[in-house]
């Protein structure tokens, strides 16, 4: 992997100094860059272009819903303790962002009636959102299409909090890197609805740690990779404590000469007894030269768990196709309907209305033979 060159050296920012995170930060960072885990993460995607995105000038995202009571926004806080939220080993590139750019910190301490919306203008400041215990809220993310850009988001869910997070990522010509790291404390409930179109290269890194007993995470992802475009999803869910549960449903459609990479890693730590993790990844290939890579991983260190995953690559179901045709629907129309249905199964949440049409739009122009 020649283009996985080591990133430029770290300059630790002021807010990081004298925090636990600063200890061994540089050493951890160097080690993370060189290890086999990082090579695995970039196995199917040329890393250099994505990593270079960090050089672009960054702006704050445009916020809405932040005027609600209970939301405190701080630009460039002078001191932040992120030791338990940030793990350098797992995310060296995202950590480098934290060190390099100004930060936006948002604390949410009361239930929010309206969604908190982040609208990225392009390359963005890292955003850290602290959701206090017992708070429930909705978070939505959208980005300007057709800008090369990258965003890093760190979410900390306090005990018994509930966050519904929806993210629409459209625009076909950009290079786009999206990093989300979520930490869910005891009995916290996190739900992510990811709707994305592939672009020249769109890379989504999602890391979820279920650190408190009873924490739960749910993820649905509907992805449409149109002709010659590329989308790489790297998702890790770690069950660290007992009685944690996770559910993932990822549906990808890949058109001719498109490329989809999916890595869904479930890591059950030794102490996570009585955990339950399920993952289903279905991939539909249209067109002769679609590339579909999928690797659902299980890393399990406790026997008292229930884990299952399934991944399939296939075509449309013949019986379903015949059912539609027998009702007079022409085959090409029937195929399009079934493809749309396939994506719709994973479209949900507060941004679903905008997502549905955007995701199926490329299907209109496709020849469905």
């Amino acid at each position: 992997m020649a283009d996985l060159e080591v990133l430029e050296p770290l300059n630790l920012p002021d807010w990081l100094n004298n925090t636990v995170l600063a200890e061994d930060a540089v050493e951890n960072y160097q080690r993370a860059l060189a290890g086999p885990a990082r090579r695995e993460l970039w196995k199917y995607t040329p890393a250099r272009k994505i990593i270079e995105l960090r050089q672009l000038p960054a702006t704050q995202p445009v916020l809405s819903g932040h005027e609600q009571t209970g939301v405190t926004v701080t630009e460039n806080p002078s001191r932040l303790d992120l030791a338990d939220l940030v793990n350098i080993q797992r995310a060296p590139e995202a950590f480098a962002q934290l060190c390099k750019q100004p930060l936006l910190h948002i604390a949410v301490t009361a239930d929010l009636a309206q969604p908190l919306n982040l609208h990225y203008q392009g390359n963005s400041w890292p955003v850290i959102i602290d959701v206090a215990p017992d708070v429930s809220m909705t978070l939505t993310e959208e980005c300007e299409q057709d800008h090369d850009q990258q965003q890093t988001l760190w979410l900390r869910l306090g005990a018994n909090s509930a966050v519904t997070h929806a993210r629409n990522s459209f625009g076909a010509t950009a290079l786009h890197w999206q990093f989300v790291s979520v930490q869910v404390h005891a009995s916290g409930h996190y739900r992510l609805h990811n709707h994305a179109l592939a672009s020249t290269l769109r890379r989504q890194d999602t890391q979820i740690q279920l650190v408190g007993s009873g924490a739960h995470a749910e993820l649905t992802s509907a992805v449409m990779v149109a002709e010659r475009l590329n989308l790489d999803q790297q998702i890790t869910i770690e069950h660290i404590n007992p009685h944690t549960t996770s559910r993932q449903r990822v549906h990808n459609i890949v058109a001719d000469r498109g490329k989809s990479t999916f890595n869904g890693r479930i890591h059950i730590h030794e102490g996570a007894k009585n955990s339950d993790a399920q993952l289903s990844n279905k991939n539909l290939g249209l067109g002769a030269n679609a590339t579909i890579n999928t690797k659902p991983e299980l890393e399990i260190y406790n026997d008292d768990v229930s884990c299952a995953h399934g991944a399939t690559i296939g075509q449309l179901d013949d019986n379903q196709l015949f059912y539609l045709c027998s009702r007079g629907v022409a085959p090409a129309v029937a195929r399009r309907l079934l493809c749309e249905g396939f994506l719709q199964q994973c479209v949900d949440g507060p941004l679903a209305d905008a997502a549905g049409p955007a995701l199926v739009a490329p299907l209109q122009d496709m020849e469905m033979t």
Binding site: G285, P296, A311, I313
Partner: protein, 493 residues
């Protein structure tokens, strides 16, 4: 009186019945690896110049390579200069003999292991029935670096089948060896294959002529005996068009406190309409309950379905070795070719395994089936690593993969790393994996019906492995079941 719970049983000791050492004088090279050692090995085996050069070329390339760091394994670095690369019992230094000429001490070794070397006997102690041709198994016996005997050679020769040590085949059938050696696993393929290509000791060579169904099962039995040596067997099996062969591989080693290295290469070539069935029941010494000693098993096994409608099946039961790194694979080049992989991998105490398979679909209408069952107990760690790759030319490829892990106890690990890389949209690929445990509820249900805990666990585990055991040739199926029981003794927890 209370029944022992699953946790209580983890304390009991496990017995490795093959752990004895055979007392024979051996001719052993001092430890170290350099070009002279390679020339020595080659000269000892009286090899032709081209093969010596082939080894040296592999060695030079190996020196540029580095050990893979991606497997899910943790072990102290191997010092390749600290191993002896050749050892042979003094009585056998003139090459393989007929049974009458074999050192009786060696024969006793195999008898103790349950491998009687009479011409009527079957492997693994199954009572032979003279009426049943299938109970005759031809055996090539390898002790450290040399093959010491091959049975049934005449009977096989009558059918046109060549089954002999590779050291012999190099001299008697050089054209075949030259053509196929390294054709499926090239010298540069990976670090351990490179090492093996330089220093390989002995192994079996099999050639089945066109249209011939090999009249009996063939097998090679590997025994490591001498300390501080490595075992580098090399096996090459060629099934010509329309032929069929079933091959069994067995292995054991003595109990020692130091680790010993086993880096083998097995190459299979199946031409048009041919079928090769390769079964392994691996019982290398796994180390003691503290992880001391045990074999490091780094093996490259690959089959090439070179012709249309060829079929290669790998079936393995792995219960031994301290560290296992092996991925028996099939390259499905011929149209309509079929690859199968059935595996049970058991790890206990402090064993670690990173094992699986690769199915590479290249021709049209190719099919592969993977059924991998992992059982982890004690403080062991077992990973399934698989690759299903469908190339753009592989129209209508079909793959079905089922990986299941059974965890016994909360100190072990079971992992699944399945890589699926698809570049042809007519493929249908299905992968499923699940994890379960032997629960106290299940055990209680058995106990309530009068079945003791160890038997209950054995039943549950056997049921878990049923699909794989079904694929083993009869002789091995019996051995496998017993091996699993023994391996789980005391680890049940």
């Amino acid at each position: 009186m209370s029944q022992p719970s699953v946790d209580d049983l983890v304390a009991a000791r496990r017995e490795y019945s093959a752990g004895f050492v055979t007392d024979v004088e051996a001719d052993t090279l001092p430890p170290g690896l350099n070009e002279d050692v390679i020339r020595f090995i080659s000269a000892r085996k009286d090899e032709p110049e081209w093969l010596t050069e082939w080894r040296l070329q592999a060695y030079r390339q190996w020196q540029e390579m580095s050990e893979p760091d991606w497997p899910h394994l943790h072990y102290p670095k191997v010092n390749f200069q600290d191993i002896s690369y050749y050892s042979a019992p003094k009585s056998q230094t003139d090459g393989p003999r007929s049974l009458e000429e074999v050192d009786p001490e060696l024969l006793r070794t195999y008898e103790k292991l349950g491998i009687p070397l009479h011409e009527q006997a079957a492997l693994a102690g199954v009572v032979p029935d003279p009426e049943q041709p299938s109970s005759n198994v031809a055996v090539d016996v390898v002790f450290d670096s040399v093959s010491i005997a091959t049975t049934f050679k005449q009977k096989l020769a009558d059918a046109g089948v060549i089954f002999c040590p590779i050291s012999e085949a190099v001299k008697s059938h050089p054209d075949l060896v030259k053509k196929y050696l390294g054709s499926v696993v090239p010298q540069k393929d990976n670090f351990y294959a490179g090492l093996n290509s330089a220093v390989f000791s002995d192994g079996s060579f099999v050639y089945i002529p066109k249209g011939v169904r090999c009249p009996m099962e063939l097998s090679t039995y590997f025994r490591i005996n001498e300390r501080n040596t490595g075992q580098f067997e090399r096996t090459l099996i060629i099934a010509d068009a329309g032929s069929h062969v079933s091959y069994l591989e067995g292995c054991t080693a003595p109990m020692r406190d130091e680790n010993q290295l086993h880096a083998a290469v097995v190459e299979l070539v199946a031409l048009e309409d041919a079928e090769i069935k390769y079964s392994t029941v691996q019982n290398w010494y796994p180390g003691d309950e503290n992880g001391r000693g045990g074999i490091y098993n780094f093996v490259t096994k690959r089959g090439l379905c070179a012709g249309a409608r060829a079929k290669i099946s790998w079936t393995q039961v792995e219960t031994g070795s301290a560290i296992t790194w092996k991925y028996p694979s099939v390259v499905l080049r011929g149209d309509d070719s079929v690859g199968e992989f059935y595996s049970v991998a058991l790890t206990n105490n402090r064993q670690q395994a990173d094992t699986g398979t690769k199915m590479i679909h290249m021709g049209k209408n190719t099919r592969s089936t993977i059924v991998a069952k992992g059982i982890s107990a004690g403080r062991s760690d077992s990973s399934y690593r698989g690759l299903v790759r469908v190339s753009p030319t592989a129209a209508n490829a079909r793959n079905f993969t089922q990986c299941d892990s059974l965890l016994i106890g909360d100190l072990c690990g079971a992992h699944t790393f399945p890589y699926i890389e698809n570049k042809n949209n007519t493929a249908i690929i299905e992968h499923e994996a699940s994890t379960s445990k032997v629960s106290d509820d299940q055990l209680f249900a058995c106990q309530q019906r009068g079945i003791d805990t160890e038997k209950a666990v054995s039943m549950i585990v056997n049921g878990f492995c049923k699909e794989v055991f079904r694929e083993l040739p009869m002789e091995f199926a019996v051995e496998a079941g017993k091996l699993l029981e023994v391996s789980l003794e005391g680890a049940v927890g």
